[in-house]
Amino acid sequence: MKEKTQVSDIDRSLYDFRYEEDERDYLGSGITPEIIKEISEEKNDPEWMREFRLRSLEIYNKTPMVDWGPSIEELDVDNIVTYIRQKSRMNTDWDDVPDDIKNTFERLGIPQAERESLAGVGAQYDSELVYHNVRKEVAESGVVYTDLESAMHDEKYADIIKEHFMKLVPPTDHKFAALHGAVWSGGSFVYVPAGVHLDIPLQSYFRLNAKGAGQFEHTLIILEENSYLHFIEGCSAPKYYEAGLHAGCVELFVGKGASLRYSTIENWSKNMFNLNTKRAIVSEGGKIEWVSGSFGSHVSYLYPMSILNGKGARAEFTGITFAGEGQNLDTGAKIVHNAPDTSSYMNTKSISKSGGISTFRSSVTVNEKAVGSKSSVSCESLMLDGISRSDTIPAMDIRTDKCDIGHEAKIGRISDEAVFYLMSRGLSEEEAKAMIVRGFADNVSKELPLEYAVEMNNLIGLEMKGSIG
């Protein structure tokens, strides 16, 4: 029971708003300006941020719920405050972490210390160390990588944050963007100066876990001209929170000729409503590459959007979604071509199993100015049984003739021939199917750093065994 000794209390002082059980009545249903003010005070917000939060709350109260997509009826929107106040309540005891998650850690081969850290149970061990090392190397290159809250109080960055914060995803965007604006907390700020090419990927999970934040985190990344960054968000181990709402926000500003790769392997625990908003705006000659794997959560709405605002800007989106039992994952991407000679490329795969629902949803908009633009979308879905569901809902809105827009989609199942072939070489049916599914997912795994690709493949293996979820 050596592991047990490493379990310690999380530092509650940082994010726990001190709303104890007995305060529940006071909070009532819905969020009030008072609650927001209290959050703001707790975080020692600058004045503009306090106002921003309050304005966002007004917008939140006025904005209707989405009228498309998976049902989020089970989400108690009227009592959304419950989710907010429980935000930091990652499990306090390793024993309370559900077995399926423990098993997943086990099978993924994640060290005990890190498991506990990921589950929000333990203090930070290896990851904290690694994080510090990363930070040293990064700092030497002139890159700023810090948490948004402290950056906001640093006079060097205060203005730049005020200038960019929720400008790309305004609180008016949708109800949960407004909620985010009101209650956001934690997250990363990355600033890459002109011409800096950062070779090592920055990994946000060190950050997130270091602070125990994660449900309403805000990520703001600014790349100046001709810089390069690979940012990796999350990891393939499940993050478990008791209360199941995640409404994070990611804003990426890609400067002229700059290139940003943003990779996510998301594996929220399966009680989570993941209503995340991610958006990038790309200047002339710049490039955004999204690599996205969605494995976790109960319900997801996730469509990273790329706004190609400068001539020759490019966007690539590579995604995989695996929906198992009890999951309804509505994922895809949005592309807006706003300037001449812009190009976009989307390649997605989705898998549905054991009653899971996966939906690929996308939009490609080519505006009048976007002459000479090209877009190519390809999506493929795999049904692993007859009780699951897989929908494909793409849309293209084209407003100029001088463009070349292609789209293709396929849906089907694993071919019996392929399974038979592999079985004839000695694989069991389960292994054969897992192998085929891994092959199906290789559009994403080959875009990931090796250790993540390995973890993702393990994850697929686990899902195929049906031992989790």
Partner: protein, 291 residues
């Protein structure tokens, strides 16, 4: 305003593709039933209501030439087992129409749909075949040629319920001037439609920088053993194509002319009926023997 052409699985509201809103009056036309004969032609210039039925193992072809403004054309069709029902609908220039075609396709029956929209001013057209029978099939070839301020909204939903049912949807068209087109095509595999196959394709040639094209191809699937696909290609003619044709001496404007024409020619060839074809050619300002 009435909401028509509802997308069976709504998506982002700001795209404006979830439905089409139009002023709609009641369809007061008397119901016309057609189930006898092999070829029936109808010249539709006002509200119309049809009930078509291809009887067991029989073949029936109905050609509807729809012209003149502001009308509703509602067709309810039934292809009984083993039958083949062919429905040809030509929407003439200026035919501001709210059209609806629903169909039930029984075991081994086929619904063959051929539609040509020549302009159409402001037309909303919904097509909803239900492939309820074993091995039932739906084959649609749809073409459009829009210019000026033409506006067209098509919502096609193929519901696969029967085992081994097959749908094949081919759409091609040309948009010029400030025309505005929305094509929503859904293949919906219901649970139980094992062995079903559905394929959908749209090919849009854009000829003016002021056009507006929306393409929304859905596949909904609740059955494992199916094969579904859709494809769309929108824009100008690609460079490789142009080079190939130019290398045979054909100048660029002629390449566009030929290609644009090929989109409607494809549909005209399928219609076959001489009288109808000649009427279409007249509308298009072409002579019949101008091959």
């Amino acid at each position: 305003m009435t909401k028509l052409n509802k997308l069976p699985a709504p998506t982002y509201g700001w795209l404006g593709v979830n439905y089409a809103e139009r002023e709609l009056s009641d369809n007061k036309a008397e119901l016309v039933s057609v189930s006898e004969g092999s070829l029936v032609k109808a010249d539709i210039t006002s509200d119309a209501r049809y009930e078509l039925s291809a009887q067991e193992n029989k073949e029936l072809t109905v050609i509807m030439y729809i012209s003149d403004e502001d009308k509703r054309v509602d067709v309810s069709a039934k292809a009984e087992s083993g039958s083949k029902l062919t429905v040809v609908q030509v929407f003439d220039k200026g035919a501001r129409t709210a059209a609806q075609l629903t169909a039930d396709i029984a075991d081994s029956a086929e619904l063959r749909l051929i539609q040509l929209y020549i302009g159409g001013a402001d037309t909303v057209s919904e097509i909803n075949p239900v492939l309820s029978g074993y091995s039932s099939s739906f084959k649609a070839d749809i073409g459009y040629l829009l210019e000026g301020e033409d506006k067209l909204d098509i919502n096609l939903i193929a519901d696969h319920k029967g085992r081994k049912s097959i749908s094949e949807i081919n759409v091609s068209g040309v948009l010029a001037d400030t025309s505005d087109k929305t094509f929503k095509g859904t293949i919906d595999f219901k649970n139980g439609a094992s062995g079903a196959k559905g394929a959908e394709k749209e090919d849009v040639l854009l000829l003016s920088e002021k056009v507006r094209n929306k393409t929304v191809p859905l596949i909904l699937c609740a059955e494992e053993d199916v094969e579904g696909s859709h494809g769309a290609s929108i824009g100008r003619i690609n460079e490789e194509h142009i080079f190939y044709m130019q290398s045979r001496g054909i100048p660029e404007d002629k390449i566009y002319e030929l290609t644009a024409r090929s989109k409607t020619d494809r549909i005209i060839k399928l219609i076959g009926d001489e009288e109808t074809v000649s009427r279409i050619n007249k509308t298009l300002g072409r002579s019949d023997d101008d091959e």
